[in-house]
């Protein structure tokens, strides 16, 4: 599994159960710093919203969490991110880390495999070969992603030929097939119709009891509907983090947050 559980147990009592700890995070591409001085904790089983306009560094933050900087030589990450109290940049088995983190992209990515193979891919990468086990995983994940009823009769047709909304639910099913501890969604509703968006949002509410969810969204109201706590990113910094209700109903520390959530800019 993921490295040795080497974190300092004293620093994180079981009560608070910090899933993801971010300290002084700085992300740059080449010489350009696009995210600086970000610190917050994300707790187990919460939906953590991240809102903010384009180029605020939201997506880069997600990339830093599951070490996608490895694939981009331009990208450098400073400060620290801990996952289960282990610093992600100290984890030697990054593949094990990524297997515990499910990611959903803004544009649905239906891999050009059958629907079945799309969902079975992650378990297979993890070494699962037993067909019966895979059948169970595929059905469970497609059901949880609210797609099973629509595709159960054509699991062998191409995933990339589904409609955009279906593909996005397929992507979510695929992310769930990893049995992730953390699910990161990056503006998942951009290419999805409102009805499908609502169905996915219901799915996320149900998942809250099992996984921790980071929800990056440019829809302020979506964060309000779903997130327990929300961070507001602006121009490469984290302006504030707070209970979602506080951001919307008054208790903001920074006037810019108020302006953004009320739609006065951004």
């Amino acid at each position: 599994m993921v490295g040795p559980e080497a974190g300092n147990p004293a620093a994180a009592p079981m009560e608070s159960a910090v899933k993801l700890g971010v300290r002084d995070l700085q992300i740059s591409y080449g010489r350009e710093t696009i995210l600086d001085d970000v610190s917050f904790d994300i707790h187990e089983h919460e939906i953590f919203g991240i809102i903010g306009p384009a180029n605020a560094g939201k997506t880069s933050f997600l990339k830093a969490v599951n070490r996608m900087d490895m694939f981009n030589p331009e990208m450098t990450v400073g400060g620290s991110i801990t996952f289960n109290n282990v610093a992600v940049d100290k984890i030697r088995n990054v593949y094990g880390l990524r297997r515990r983190i499910g990611v959903v992209f803004p544009l649905p990515v239906g891999l050009p495999l059958s629907i079945y193979d799309n969902v079975a891919l992650a378990p297979r990468l993890g070494g699962q070969k037993n067909r019966a086990e895979l059948d169970i995983i595929v059905e469970r994940c497609l059901t949880r992603a609210a797609l099973w009823d629509e595709v159960k009769d054509r699991l062998n047709s191409l995933g990339s030929m589904l409609s955009g909304g279906q593909q996005q639910r397929l992507t979510i099913a695929r992310a769930l097939s990893q049995d992730p501890e953390l699910l990161m969604l990056d503006e998942f509703s951009i290419a999805v119709d409102p009805v499908t968006t609502m169905r996915i949002e219901d799915v996320l509410k149900e998942l809250r009891s099992e996984v921790t969810i980071i929800l990056v969204t440019n829809l302020v109201q979506q964060a309000r509907r779903l997130a327990d706590r929300t961070a507001f990113f602006l121009e490469g910094g984290c302006v504030e983090v707070g209970l979602t209700e506080d951001l919307f109903t008054g208790e903001v520390k920074d006037q810019r947050t108020r302006d953004y959530v009320e739609g006065r800019f951004g």
Binding site: I101, V109, G110, L111, A122, G126
Partner: protein
């Protein structure tokens, strides 16, 4: 309000002139193809027969068939493919999927481009020096095929790399995010979707290889052999060299025989090209995203 001004009319005339001129130029392109094929079929078709394809030459090559040459070309192509495809595809995968963008990678890319530009006679001399003499393969099918392989390597590499890069980056990222290693990603997502383009490149390479003369002349192809080759260390006859021989080297050659040989050679190449185009069209219809 809508009357044409003098300037409008001038532009219109000019546009017609250029359209006609460019169209004519394009039309002229098919002329050589039609003439070559026409002549070959008109003069060569009468000599084509079962015996011509499947018998050995007799009477100092002025009669009989071309079977040893036909077989030799097929052998040369197959051995060349066995060498160049694994090497070329492996190199292309490395360059496209693994290599960081640094001076070393750029140097390799430059080398590939230059390799593609080296004249085939220079490849032939390289083949003599490297495979015939240094590796002591002698003039043999192996030496000739390896020479052909080196020569066609750039085609395989470039075709493979392009079809790898046509696979959307999002597929790779989705896979990496699931905890797949680079190799797992290549194996499960990238290669299955690039294989069609790779195949097309390989088939095109075959057709090029089949027609080459210079690289095999000094390295393994013989003017005339009484026996068929038994191992890859034997020399062989080849269609392209045979065509050269019967056209220029043998007195008293019946006029139509060289045309027959040329027709067989070009049919082979065209067959391969058509196959490649058909494959590409078929697979494009099945495009998965």
């Amino acid at each position: 309000m809508f009357e044409a001004s003098a300037l409008n009319r001038k532009n219109e005339t000019r546009q017609k002139l250029f359209r006609f001129g460019l169209g004519t130029m394009t039309g002229i392109l098919i002329l050589p193809v039609v003439l070559i094929m026409g002549t070959l079929i008109y003069k060569g078709a009468p000599v084509i027969s079962f015996e011509f394809l499947f018998a050995s030459p007799t009477n100092g090559m002025t009669a009989g068939g071309i079977f040893p040459a036909l077989l030799g070309t097929v052998l040369l192509v197959i051995v060349a493919l066995l060498a160049s495809v694994p090497l070329g595809v492996a190199a292309a995968i490395y360059l496209s999927e693994y290599a960081p963008d640094n001076w070393f990678t750029r140097a390799i890319n430059l080398a590939i481009i230059n390799l593609a530009g080296v004249p085939s006679i220079v490849h032939a001399l390289f083949g003599v020096g490297a495979f015939v003499i240094f590796f002591k393969f002698g003039t043999s099918i192996l030496a000739a095929s390896l020479t052909l392989a080196i020569m066609t390597l750039p085609v395989v590499i470039v075709a493979t790399r392009e079809s790898l890069q046509a696979v959307p980056m999002a597929f790779r990222e989705a896979c990496w995010n699931m905890g797949a290693t680079r190799w797992q990603t290549i194996r499960r997502v990238v290669l299955p979707n690039a294989i069609t383009g790779i195949l097309t490149g390989v088939i095109l390479e075959v057709s090029r290889t089949a027609g080459e003369t210079a690289p095999i002349m000094f390295t393994g192809a013989a003017f005339f052999l009484p026996l068929l080759p038994q191992t890859v260390f034997d020399q062989t006859m080849a269609l392209s060299l045979h065509l050269f021989v019967v056209s220029t080297q043998v007195p008293g050659m019946p006029e139509q025989l060289p045309f027959g040989v040329a027709l067989v050679l070009i049919s082979m190449v065209l067959l391969m090209n058509s196959l490649s185009i058909a494959l590409r069209m078929y697979l494009r219809g099945k495009k998965k995203w």
